[in-house]
Structure formats: C-alpha cells, structure tokens
C-alpha cells in the first residue's frame, strides 16, 4: 500500500531524515517509535506532503505521491492527524469536524462519520458549539483525532493521538485504532504511551537521529531488551 524509500527530509539546512525506508501493507498497523525530536513527525508529514524539502520516493498504491500538494494526497485517501492538532481556532467544534470531511471521498459519509466520532467522544458532542481555541488540552486532542477520522481515509498517519488524554481515553484510542484497522484501513502510528499498542502492531520501526535503527515485527521488538526498556516501558 505504502512504500517509502530512501527518504531525506530537510528543514532549511538541517537534514532531519536520512535514507528512511518503510513499508506498510494494506490493512496493517505500523508503529513508529523513537526519542523526542528525532524525526517521527517529520516522516509522517513528509509522506503527506507537508514538508517542503524532501528527496526520495513515497509510493502510495503504486503511484509516487512525493511532491504532490497535500490536498491531492488527501483526496487519494491519506490523512495526517497532527501532533500539534492544527485546529481552526475561531471555528466551533462542529465546524472543525465538518471541515474534516472536506475531501471528496469523505463528503458522502459526513453524517455517518459525525455520528461515529460523537459516539467515540461524547465530550465533543456536548461541546459542538464551543470555539475550538477555548477547548482544554485533552478536548482539543480529541477534536483533532475526530477531525482526522471524519476524512474516511484509507491510510491514516496518526501522530501521538494519546497526547494529553486521560488514562481511560488512552485505552479508548487503542480500541479506536483497533476498530479502524478492522474496517480494513491501514494505520501508520507514532505512539509511545499506550502500552497495549504493540499488540496491534504488524510492524515496528524505530527512528533515531533521523535513521531507522530498528525494524521488525512486534515479537522481535519485544525480545529486544533495549527497545522494551526505552520505548515500551509504560
């Protein structure tokens, strides 16, 4: 479904990703781990066309999408759920969610998806008319995840969805991802604070200093003591 080969990403002069290659097959959950600031988010953003200078190849369903504008990519069924949320501050929760279904493929399902996300996050349903800029940290995170889910995408690039969520919801996220995956969708996930997440993972990658330092199945990961201690400890 997605094959990334030899990706190099830069911010100005600084190279953040170095020769990164990953693959995700249809229906898989691929988890990416790594220390803070080593390029996880940059990888997801590069795939979705949000980083200016990227060299390499991103093959999505047989087509190289690298260099395409993000809106084209989104319309092909790829969505990025941002670590720093990227909400529309002066719009209400509902307006934010509706915009989540902006892509053509999502429009038809807007109603159904709206019910779904309100079901997943009842808090959002209660606050549908609140401006998103006044939401609490966790509420805003829910909104960001929910907005991403509105897109009906086939491949979801999810960046730290549990960040700032209360413990019960952190588990909730786990089951949401499970559910989505069961619907046959592919998930590319950066997440280090949901202990159970490895159970879901079909593949695990670790990025350190911009390079892939580990790659393997969850069994291989769990048998790697170093990895377990640092990234899967919670």
């Amino acid at each position: 479904m997605l094959t990334v080969t030899d990706l190099n990403a830069y911010y100005g002069q600084a190279q953040v990703l170095k020769q990164v290659s990953i693959t995700a097959d249809a229906g898989q959950v691929v988890v990416i781990l790594g220390p803070n600031g080593h390029g996880k988010s940059t990888l997801l953003k590069s795939i979705c066309g949000l980083v200016e200078r990227v060299v390499g190849a991103v093959i999505y369903q047989g087509e190289n999408i690298l260099g395409q504008p993000t809106d084209r990519i989104v319309n092909q069924g790829l969505i990025y759920i941002a670590e720093n949320r990227e909400l529309f501050p002066h719009m209400t929760v509902l307006e934010n969610l509706k915009l989540g279904a902006y892509a053509k493929s999502a429009r038809a399902h807007e109603k159904r998806n709206l019910e779904m996300v309100f079901d997943l996050f009842p808090r959002l349903a209660d606050r549908r008319n609140q401006l998103s800029s006044t939401m609490s940290g966790g509420e805003a995170r829910m909104l960001a995840v929910a907005r991403g889910l509105m897109s009906n995408a086939e491949l979801l690039c999810v960046d730290e969805p549990s960040l700032g969520l209360q413990p019960s919801l952190r588990f909730e996220i786990f089951s949401i991802i499970q559910k989505i995956n069961k619907q046959g969708k592919t998930v590319l996930l950066v997440e280090q604070n949901i202990p159970q997440i490895t159970e879901l993972a079909d593949r695990i990658y670790v990025i350190e200093e911009g390079r892939i330092s580990f790659e393997g199945s969850k069994e291989e990961a769990l048998s790697n003591e170093h990895l377990k201690e640092i990234f899967l400890g919670m």
């Binding site: 609490s136 413990p167 019960s168 919801l169």
Partner: protein
C-alpha cells in the same frame, strides 16, 4: 503555603471550576489529575492571575486574587503551560534569562542561569533560537525559565505528555531534585498515574471543576469513583 478557598470560575454558562478548595503545604509535591476538561489548567490560570474568578486564593497567608500575572510571578509562583510556549526571537539562554531578570527578586544572576541551563540539560542548545526545538526541549526550556524566577512554588502542566518512558524517567528525576535539592514546592498536573504515584505526596482528583477526592496517591487511585470517572475499568 497555597490555599484555594471556594474558588469558582465560569465561562459563560460553563462552570469550569466549581467551589473548589484545597491547600498545598510547603515542600510538597502535590498532584492534580482528573478527566480532560475537568478544569485543571483553569485552576493554574486562576492561581497565576490570568483570569478573574470568585473566591479566594491565598499564598503564604496573603490573598492574591486580583493580582496581575507578573506580580504573582514575583511573589514566587512559577508555572509551565500545557501547550509549549517559547520566545522564537530569543535563544534558549536568553529565554531562561528572562525568568531570572524579571521574575526573580534580586539582581540578575548569570551564574544562576548557567546552573539552570545545566540542570535542565539545555546547555547543548543554549544558543539555538527556541522556535524549532523539539517538544521535549521546549518543555525543559519552560521549566528552566520558570525555575530561573527562583520560585517558591513551581506548577507544572502535563510536563510528561509526548515523552517515552526513558524521557519520562529523566524528567521525574529532575522534578524530584527540584523539590528536594532546591526546596521548591511542586504542583503537577499529569495523566500518567505512575508518575503521580511515584512523585506526589498528595493527589487531588477533580472532575467538572469539583473535587472528587484528595489524599495519598495509593488510596486515591484505588478509589472506585476515580476509576469510574477517570482511570477507566481497564486501568491497572
């Protein structure tokens, strides 16, 4: 040391903090937890003077309600923000300097700033502009700048969010040392129970702005009401 008396904050219809009272003793590490939108960050904003409110907040016996944020900072209350704040026009060193220059009573003390930089492991990035630091470094920077004001009490808002276990361990160690070695009282908002149970001596749980329970962390996390509203059945 810090005492909230029947504090209430409304945003229009919404009661974000509802008749809340609690006290923090000097030298404590005091934890606050509760569901998303419970009003935790709002409590911080009230204490540090960002919003007007009803009720009374006393610091070292003095009512500080109605004071401006910068005055409160001068009294010795420092804080960090849930969403990282930085000064993109300033370097890391300058940003920490800001805390010392404006927040601390007494003269600007470069040696002290230096020691904070070292303590928060910011020395390698000291000359970088702060806008593009990684999340962890931004959090360290906020803590460092807050510490540079030589606070009596340091209030942290989800300092661990977004970090992996390794990083969390090192942050916890730093917080412990701030409390023990520098003698600074700490209030911490977190959603990681392990952090709270290991660090805090008292844990307060609030929900929709109201106190649910308060006490020693082990007891609190086993409180059925807390499990019900906050931790979830699967917690454990």
């Amino acid at each position: 040391m810090l005492k909230l008396n029947h504090v209430t904050k409304k945003f229009g219809e919404l009661v974000a903090v509802n008749d809340l009272s609690f006290a923090v003793e000097a030298g404590q590490v005091f934890g606050i937890a509760g569901p998303n939108g419970a009003g935790k960050s709002t409590v911080y904003n009230l204490i540090t003077g960002f919003y007007p409110f009803e009720g009374e907040i006393a610091f070292e016996g003095r009512n500080i309600a109605g004071r401006q944020p910068h005055e409160i900072s001068k009294l010795g209350i420092a804080r960090t923000f849930q969403i990282p704040q930085t000064f993109p026009s300033l370097t890391v060193e300058q940003s920490v300097g800001v805390g010392n220059r404006f927040g601390a009573r007494g003269r600007f003390d470069p040696a002290y700033v230096e020691s904070i930089l070292a303590f928060m492991e910011l020395t390698p990035v000291r000359h970088e502009p702060t806008g593009q630091l990684s999340l962890l470094d931004k959090k360290r920077l906020m803590m460092g700048a807050a510490l540079a004001t030589r606070p009596k009490i340091l209030m942290l808002d989800e300092p661990m969010a977004g970090s992996n276990s390794n990083e969390i361990r090192s942050l916890m160690e730093s917080i412990r040392r701030i409390n023990a070695e520098m003698g600074i009282t700490i209030i911490i908002i977190e959603h990681f129970m392990k952090v709270l149970t290991e660090l805090t001596s008292t844990l307060l749980i609030i929900e929709t702005g109201t106190k649910v329970c308060m006490g020693d962390p082990e007891t609190v996390v086993n409180d059925p009401e807390v499990i019900e509203c906050y931790l979830g059945e699967s917690y454990g």
